[in-house]
Symmetry: C2
Amino acid sequence: MSLLSIPSPADWHVHLRQKPLVYQVAKHVRAGGFKTAYVMPNLVPPITTTEQALEYKGLLHSIDASVEYLMTLYLNPALTPEEIHKAHKAGIAGVKSYPRGVTTNSDGGVESYEIYYPVFEAMQEVDMVLNLHGEVPSNPDTNTCVLNAEETFLPHLHKLHAAFPRLRIVLEHATTLAAVNAVKACGPSVACTITAHHLALTVDDWAGQSFNFCKPVAKFPSDRQALRDVILEGNPKYFLGSDSAPHPLHRKSVSTPNVGCAAGVYTAPILLPLVAHLLESFGALDRLEGFVSTFGRNFYKKLASEGLEHNVTLRRVPEGTAGLIPEKYEEDGEALVPFWAGKPLSWELVPPA
Amino acid sequence: MSLLSIPSPADWHVHLRQKPLVYQVAKHVRAGGFKTAYVMPNLVPPITTTEQALEYKGLLHSIDASVEYLMTLYLNPALTPEEIHKAHKAGIAGVKSYPRGVTTNSDGGVESYEIYYPVFEAMQEVDMVLNLHGEVPSNPDTNTCVLNAEETFLPHLHKLHAAFPRLRIVLEHATTLAAVNAVKACGPSVACTITAHHLALTVDDWAGQSFNFCKPVAKFPSDRQALRDVILEGNPKYFLGSDSAPHPLHRKSVSTPNVGCAAGVYTAPILLPLVAHLLESFGALDRLEGFVSTFGRNFYKKLASEGLEHNVTLRRVPEGTAGLIPEKYEEDGEALVPFWAGKPLSWELVPPA
């Protein structure tokens, strides 16, 4: 097989950042083979209102009008049921919940969900999706750290699902066997995104190598295997959300003991070839269409027939030809280093005729 | 209490490196308050013979003759029982076992211990100490990674101890509750070193921060607590081995996605004040003498009365005065960044009158 045709792939979790980085980053959605992007709201300040979301969408549209941007709000105490109804009418697709202090620009995130129950009730009513960054903040007193932050969160998922059984919930960027099993244990209203990089990395890859450091951190080989296995199963609850999260080169580097690097791995500009390469590496190439297109579109009720048609063709990179991931992308003096920089991929996009 | 007198502290695990770094590093043993240093053999090439060890000892002596250097050999297939007898007669104190590929300059390390049984028999006979870097190499197929490399090694410790019950064995730089318990379960011929930095760090501290990355990696808060608890107990099987492991600044930094940083944390130049500071932070200051002096000397049968007397006085740093750990040490253009660079310590050495 040397050609693969993928109908309308969609990335259900992507960070497109704000000015000035957005001008470089937003264009990479198409570069990576996608025309549907579910856009995260963790800007500074975060996207908390319909107006902000629409303004941000306008900015993205002005950079690349060929992409369908599905917008989200940042869950916060000021969010009301009325705002949910307003957002829904404006076409906003979901609300993203961040745990306080865990990831990039999540200082305003949540610690307890009860205060949001009226908001979730409204979301359930209008069928808006709740996106969960499923980690609890580290706390030595409770033995919580980056390694068990996700597993420790899972009871919150079950509690939310029990309280709002019709609310569509996505557990984002699962990294553990425990998370995979938790989503399986839930009803059909709960799904799960998996990133490309978590199909490749384990803890050994980010130990001493900050460019592979992201949140949630990659964990044991057995956890990576659980992510691969659920894709091999063709389980439709699990689909691609890249969590592509660019940071400038200097924020991914570490040069002093007093400043840690930013958490995040940048996959958007190489996303579809990377996912094809990875799935093939563990024998799941025949699951590519479901994982990057059908499963997510079905869950989000955003079928390609709604004007989102965008067939993409991949071809196998002939042996001995280039096919290397660029060392970096650079625009206006800001360098972004992609995941697996300089490595070869087995697949590449066929440019549209 | 504003003065502390410590009789003859000893560091039972230290890397003093080779030319040219050794000229800077060896002097830091005294700077950190120590005159007894148990010296690791992982140079390039490794110290595998009595001659090499004595030559290395001579080099160290030429840099600072006031320190007692206790030398070790690097366990390797060329090591014979005859060489053990020779080494013992020459005053060499121990043999260090490295797992293949796990840590700095350990490419020639071991994978299986059976081939060394004649060597261990000879070591038991002459009462030479076996120092174990207790980690197995990572292997995704067996779900082994930096997080469970130590725990996975522990059956090897028990097997060796059962085969050579009189052989003195030190499990080096324990980082887990499992390792602490494994050493407790062994007889009095098995002891354990604990570093200063593993009393401070958890996985969260090296996630995205390469200067805190070392092997074995710091693990869960509960593992750190187990190390603290065994010191609080005053258990004489557990004593200080700093594993002070300097690397040039550029090797601790990360500036590209394709080169990981070197594993190791540099504590030698600040060691005794750092240990006092840390023990006080978890209420174990009254265990300082046992941890840094008595327990290790008793196990190694190197009592201070053997000409190793060296009383050191620490004083509490007055509030509002400097007392900061240097940002770096620099000599001949080679910068070394100490652990906790720029942070304040509660204790400092009183210079000898």
